[in-house]
């Protein structure tokens, strides 16, 4: 019965959707009046506004630098996905690449026009915030998780306090603290870049949640593993690095990947403190009175963009899970 209902609903809606989205749609025009006449979707809004949506207030003639930055980040992310590249060298490559991306966007060297961080926006900003959050937050999360299980009371209390305070407030509060309250506590004349403040806030938020996930993994390792490692004379860090963490992280991989994907989506929150991420830039781009009617089409484009990123991450996570449990009876 439900199947029939669902099929009927699809039967009713799909032809309309197809004629709206494809048959009667306007694909290319410079004049929004052409869209007003047409009965279907106005995809031309994306051709008209895609530069603002993808790059925000980044200077128009310098958009190639943004494209290059996106390319570097995506290519490196794909390379990092292959197990055979996993080594300390990869970490160094990431450091170099991040520095390169920053130089590329900031400019001021090699004849590149300097561009202040206040002009950064769109997809490069979203990706940069995301990569920064994960790369900076993951090590912090592991340290917090280890610290919370530490036998030293001071470290333990500090870690518990940090995790619980951050987990006790919404991300928006953390961002508002970073962007509004923090400058008030600073001495006069001292300002820390707003982008950096937001990034640090997001790293702290991500780390607090990821730490609890990692701690779950640490607790799942049987006591025998810890004792065996100590019995063969490994130091604390050797034990942690070689025996405990590899097993623990494998156990929590699905949960951790969920958190990473959520971190990607959380980057949209920065628009409330005045930074133009992809979604914020799109909302601003659609203020144009000539094109504001076609917000739906633009948001469908953004939906597809986010879906591609998030879905490929979750697919990769599933693949990694299978890969890592090969030869094990899980």
């Amino acid at each position: 019965m439900l199947t029939l209902l669902a099929m009927w609903a699809l039967f009713v809606t799909i032809p309309d959707f197809i004629s709206w989205a494809f048959i009667n749609a306007v694909w290319q025009t410079d004049d929004s009046k052409d869209c007003q006449v047409a009965a279907g979707a106005c995809w031309a809004v994306i051709t008209e506004k895609h530069r603002v949506m993808l790059f925000g207030t980044f200077p128009y003639d310098e958009h190639w630098r943004g494209v290059l930055a996106i390319a570097i980040i995506i290519i490196l992310a794909v390379i990092s996905g292959f197990k055979r590249f996993w080594s300390y060298r990869l970490f160094l490559v990431w450091l170099v690449a991040t520095a390169l991306v920053f130089l590329l966007l900031l400019g001021g060297v090699f004849g590149l026009k300097p561009i202040g961080t206040y002009q950064w926006g769109g997809l490069p900003l979203t990706l940069l915030l995301f990569v920064g959050t994960v790369v900076g937050g993951m090590p912090l999360a592991v340290l917090l998780a280890l610290g919370r299980r530490s036998s030293l009371p001071a470290i333990k209390a500090l870690c518990i306090g940090f995790i619980e305070i951050i987990r006790g407030v919404p991300l928006i509060t953390v961002l508002f603290m970073a962007s509004l309250m923090f400058p008030l506590f600073m001495p006069e004349g001292v300002t820390i870049n707003k982008l950096l403040r937001a990034e640090i806030g997001m790293i702290m938020f991500f780390a607090a949640y990821a730490a609890e996930i990692v701690r779950g993994g640490l607790q799942a390792i049987s006591l025998g593993q810890y004792e065996a490692a100590e019995a063969i004379g490994l130091s604390y860090w050797q034990k942690t690095n070689r025996i405990i963490l590899p097993q623990a992280l494998r156990i929590v991989l699905p949960a951790l990947m969920s958190d990473v994907i959520r971190a990607f989506k959380n980057t949209t929150f920065v628009s409330i403190i005045g930074l133009f991420d992809v979604l914020g830039a799109t909302a601003t781009a659609l203020e144009d009175l000539l094109w504001v009617r076609y917000a739906l089409e633009a948001y469908i484009f953004i939906f597809i963009l986010y879906f591609v990123f998030c879905f490929s991450m979750s697919k990769y996570s599933a693949h990694l899970e299978r890969d890592l449990s090969e030869g094990r009876n899980l």
Binding site: Y60, P183, E188, G274, T284, D288, L289
Partner: protein, 341 residues
């Protein structure tokens, strides 16, 4: 209760900090050293400040900021815009993150007195207006007896509607709709006869949502007061003067008929005030701590007030706003610049 306490605490923190910032030293020195003027902008209000298809800032408030940059630094493009929200705008000003707030902020006593900020020279006078479909035949608010009125709950508009209809002894049927978007759709879809909002908001809605904008008219009369203009930190008198007189220069230029097109011609004008405005005679620029061409640059690079208005809000923009209150005083508006003497 809790909210009140937190609010009070925040206000105390803000108030406590404000005097400290006031002595932060001349803003103008910092600007000259930096090479740019930093303005707080809205970004989400068409006509006032938004982005064009190239990602560049455009709008009335944006032009105010550019005028200040042209006066101080000689180039209208030496500006930085920091996007602020209605909750972050005052803090950004107090902490020195921005030099001047150009973000359609309404001048009220409590804001002026409490926040350690100064409102200077309103650039736009707004108020609540009534919009109807032409087919109703209404010529003024008095013709609206028994009409259905679309309003947002809990807004100034709702109060204005109640007051206006009571004063005129007329009855009306309110249609209260929670979301602004749905409210617009409802009105232009014919669900109610009258739409009440700020006049600039109404014009924007007419230009964007209405299927046939020509069918809708704003009735004469504006209710309530919303003077909006640039805002600066308290305590830097020179900077405050520069911001104020940059705005006045554009208004005076319109009064004297000086435009971005004829400004070079007007340099030869015999009129004493024109000569003082353009720095041909006198040393008005030096009194502000600027050079004598400061106003010339504003007019040459940005234009006079009328040009700025028409470009962003008026006939040359999709908003098609009438000058109304935002006309110079000799033409029945409220724009009245002190003399350039």
């Amino acid at each position: 209760m809790k909210r009140v306490v937190i609010g009070a605490a925040m206000a105390a923190i803000l108030a406590g900090l404000a005097p400290g910032d006031a002595t932060a030293g001349p803003t103008i020195d910092a600007i000259k050293k930096r090479g740019t003027v930093i303005c707080g902008a809205n970004g989400n209000r068409a006509g006032f400040s938004s982005l064009n298809s190239k990602g560049e800032w455009i709008g009335m408030d944006v032009d105010t900021c550019k005028a200040i940059a042209a006066a101080v630094l000689g180039d209208k493009n030496k500006v930085q815009f920091i996007k602020t929200t209605s909750s972050t705008r005052f803090t950004a000003l107090q902490t020195g993150e921005i030099d001047v707030l150009t973000r359609n902020t309404t001048w009220t006593l409590s804001r002026d007195a409490k926040l350690g900020i100064d409102f200077v020279a309103p650039t736009f006078y707004d108020g609540q207006g009534f919009m109807v479909n032409k087919s109703t035949g209404a010529k003024s608010v008095k013709d609206l007896g028994g009409a259905t009125v679309c309003v947002l709950p809990g807004t100034t508009s709702e109060k204005v509607v109640a007051d206006v209809f009571r004063e005129n002894g007329l009855k009306y049927i309110p249609v209260v709709i929670e979301s602004k978007k749905e409210l617009n759709t409802a009105f232009f879809g014919g669900r109610c006869d009258v739409h009440v909002q700020s006049t600039s908001g109404l014009s924007a809605a007419r230009a964007t949502v209405a299927p046939n904008p020509e069918d809708f008219v704003l009735l004469p009369g504006i209710y309530g007061k919303d003077p909006m203009g640039p805002v600066v930190r308290q305590g830097d008198a020179q900077w405050r003067d520069i911001v104020a007189w940059s705005v006045y220069a554009m208004m005076t230029a319109e009064e004297l008929g000086v435009t971005s097109v004829n400004v070079d011609e007007k340099m030869k004008s015999k009129d004493a005030e024109t000569q003082r405005l353009l720095g041909v005679k006198g040393k008005l620029g030096a009194t502000l701590g600027l050079d004598n061409d400061w106003a010339y640059r504003i007019i040459k690079q940005i234009g006079n007030y009328g040009e700025v208005f028409e470009r962003n809000l008026g006939a040359d923009s999709p908003l098609k706003l009438a000058r109304g209150l935002n006309n110079i005083w000799t033409k029945g508006g409220l724009l009245y610049s002190p003399p350039f003497k």
